[in-house]
């Protein structure tokens, strides 16, 4: 005998308790651990994967039975999105954890204030001062070249450029974005080889190599930011009898300065860790070189590479160097955020 099914409820008649997902998660973790222990061995990766799958299945089924199909889909989607977020976090967190964990041991004021002159074999002294100075020089030169160049090119593309020239430049920028860093290094190396001969080595060459990598990134991000400035503001400025160039300087650039700062910082972060072109152009040095235009100079990425290749105690210095690099990038980001906050358009949005 059959009973007519009542019409499906539109409202969720019963709701899982607030703690239910956590309980299900704990259950799935216990189940996964048990299953793994029974069949093979328990590894973190295996536990994580199996827990994720069994949690998704369990919560969906439970919700379908208790709450109904639409809420089951919602629970499933929530589980998947959270999983994606956790997966994306894994490399970030583990990288930070490893660098901080391994780097803090060798990291000290001495490390920041000494160079590698007279450090041999298994000596634990020595530091990265020379490399920090080199990185500041090389990245500084690259920034001096590419930030103005990139901003002016972006202004041309957004505010002035038309037709073929604009399309040509856009294409070239796209192509430049994809240049492998070693090619940029070769380019800078060759240019200076032709101009100054084979004996010439300096931070300048590395700066030029990085500028080649950095310029397209700056152009691209500044271009995006300038396009975000509403046309209404340009028109408002023109209607007040303000010439175009002043409109660009005082309205367009002023409105987008926060975004431009962020874009420039991303570009710097992109090149500050480059190793290959620097290895090729500025070489390896053990001592502090205060002259950016003459002589080999050490840089942090090359320093890290070099110390790690040596192995043994030197590997500690490599980790400390990596930590220094991350701290520098973090500081730059912090400055960018402060600048953004100070210059961002205020008021109700």
């Amino acid at each position: 005998m059959s009973v007519l099914a009542p019409p499906l409820p539109v409202r969720r008649s019963r709701k899982l308790a607030r703690w239910a997902p956590y309980a299900v998660l704990a259950g799935s973790a216990a189940f996964s651990a048990g299953l793994l222990a029974l069949l093979t061995t328990v590894t973190i990766a295996g536990l994580f994967a199996l827990t994720a799958v069994s949690y998704a299945v369990a919560i969906t089924t439970l919700s379908r039975v208790v709450e109904g199909p639409r809420w089951a889909k919602d629970r499933l989607a929530t589980a998947l999105v959270t999983l994606a977020f956790l997966l994306a976090l894994i490399p970030l967190v583990s990288l930070l954890a490893i660098v901080v964990g391994d780097g803090l041991g060798g990291f000290s004021w001495d490390f920041l204030s000494t160079d590698m002159v007279g450090v041999f074999g298994s000596m634990t002294s020595g530091g990265a001062l020379h490399a920090i100075i080199g990185t500041v020089y090389v990245t500084g030169i690259a920034s001096l070249v590419s930030i103005p160049l990139g901003i002016f090119t972006a202004i041309y593309l957004v505010e002035y450029g038309q037709g073929r020239l604009k399309r040509g430049i856009t294409l070239l920028v796209d192509v430049m974005t994809g240049i492998p860093s070693i090619v940029a290094g070769l380019f800078a190396y060759t240019v200076f080889l032709v101009l100054f001969g084979p004996a010439y080595k300096s931070a300048l060459i590395g700066g030029v190599a990085l500028a080649v990598l950095m310029t397209p990134v700056v152009i691209r991000s500044v271009e995006e930011m300038l396009r975000l400035v509403p046309n209404e503001l340009r028109e408002a400025s023109y209607a007040l009898g303000v010439p175009k160039w002043l409109t660009v300087v005082k309205v367009v650039l002023r409105t987008s300065v926060a975004g431009i700062t962020t874009g420039v910082m991303i570009a710097i972060a992109r090149v500050i860790g480059e190793t290959a072109p620097l290895l090729m152009t500025v070489g390896i040095a053990q001592n502090v070189n205060w002259d950016a235009f003459d002589g080999r100079i050490a840089t942090l990425p090359v320093f890290v590479y070099r110390q790690y290749a040596q192995g043994g105690v030197a590997a500690d210095r490599a980790w400390a160097g990596a930590l220094t690099l991350i701290i520098i990038v973090m500081l730059l980001n912090l400055i960018a955020r402060l600048v953004s906050r100070y210059f961002a358009p205020k008021g109700a949005r």
Partner: protein, 259 residues
């Protein structure tokens, strides 16, 4: 501080497309001229030719004459920037500069042009312009707040204050009330009434009651169909236009039979 504009045989193009054709019109000083017509008939396009704003759109150009007090605005030796200093504009959506305070927005015409102005003169100009735009009493205690913190109607009056701070001869208004509520609209309309004592005003509006309320003369634009150019069908005193228009199309539009 107001001038008449005589427009003869004006055609407006976007590239090869003829958007507005053969406009003859006289705009009287110290009066309000309203331009009405259905959407897409070219009244905003025409308005933007009066301060050469449409030129900022790539490919847009104009043939014909627009003469302001004996000077053709489209003569080859005329700088569009100079034209825009004499013919100010208020846009459909309020567009105060988001990076500037209320006071700086009013001073934008001075500051963006890198002109030096003493503190006292600046304060005076801010107060005079905001008073002229009926906004002074509402904002005098918060001149340093960002312009975007105001309500929509206040922002629009701020934009009017910004426009009159550069002391133009003519003020163009492109549907200045279409984004505002009735109360703010009333405030702007009252303001237009006061401003016409000093300025020549041309206002584009979709609202025929508004045209009847604020304007001395009204021009009706129409378009025969998509792809065809817009034309000035009829222009006359506002009372005549709304009581006994000469053209059937005008009467149909005003009486709400189409559009």
């Amino acid at each position: 501080m107001s001038k008449r504009i005589d427009i003869s045989d004006l055609n407006v193009y976007y590239g090869d497309f003829l958007a507005v054709e053969g406009v003859h019109m006289s705009i009287e000083p110290r009066s309000v001229t309203a331009l009405i017509g259905p959407s897409g008939c070219g009244k905003s396009t025409f308005l933007r030719t009066l301060n050469r704003m449409h030129e900022v759109i790539p490919g847009a150009r104009v043939t014909g004459k627009a003469v302001m007090d004996g000077q053709d605005l489209y003569a080859p030796d005329i700088d569009p920037v100079e034209v825009r200093r004499q013919v100010g504009m208020v846009f459909q959506r309020p567009n105060p500069f988001p990076t500037m305070s209320i006071a700086d927005n009013v001073l934008a015409g001075v500051k963006l042009n890198n002109r030096r102005i003493s503190k006292a003169a600046a304060d005076e100009l801010v107060e005079r312009s905001l008073t002229g735009a009926n906004l002074w009493n509402e904002v005098k205690d918060r001149l340093e707040k960002p312009g975007s913190s105001l309500s929509g109607g206040q922002q629009q009056r701020l934009c009017i204050a910004r426009a009159i701070a550069v002391q133009p001869q003519v003020l163009l208004m492109d549907e200045p009330c279409s984004a505002l509520d009735p109360i703010s609209t009333l405030a702007i309309e009252e303001l237009v009434h006061e401003l016409k004592n000093d300025y020549t005003i041309v206002i584009v509006t979709h609202n025929m009651q508004q045209a009847a309320r604020v304007s001395d003369r009204t021009g009706f634009f129409n378009i025969e169909g998509t792809g065809k150019p817009g034309r000035l069908i009829e222009m006359d005193d506002t009372t005549t236009m709304f009581s006994s228009p000469a053209q059937q199309a005008t009467e149909d539009y005003i009486s709400g039979r189409f559009g």
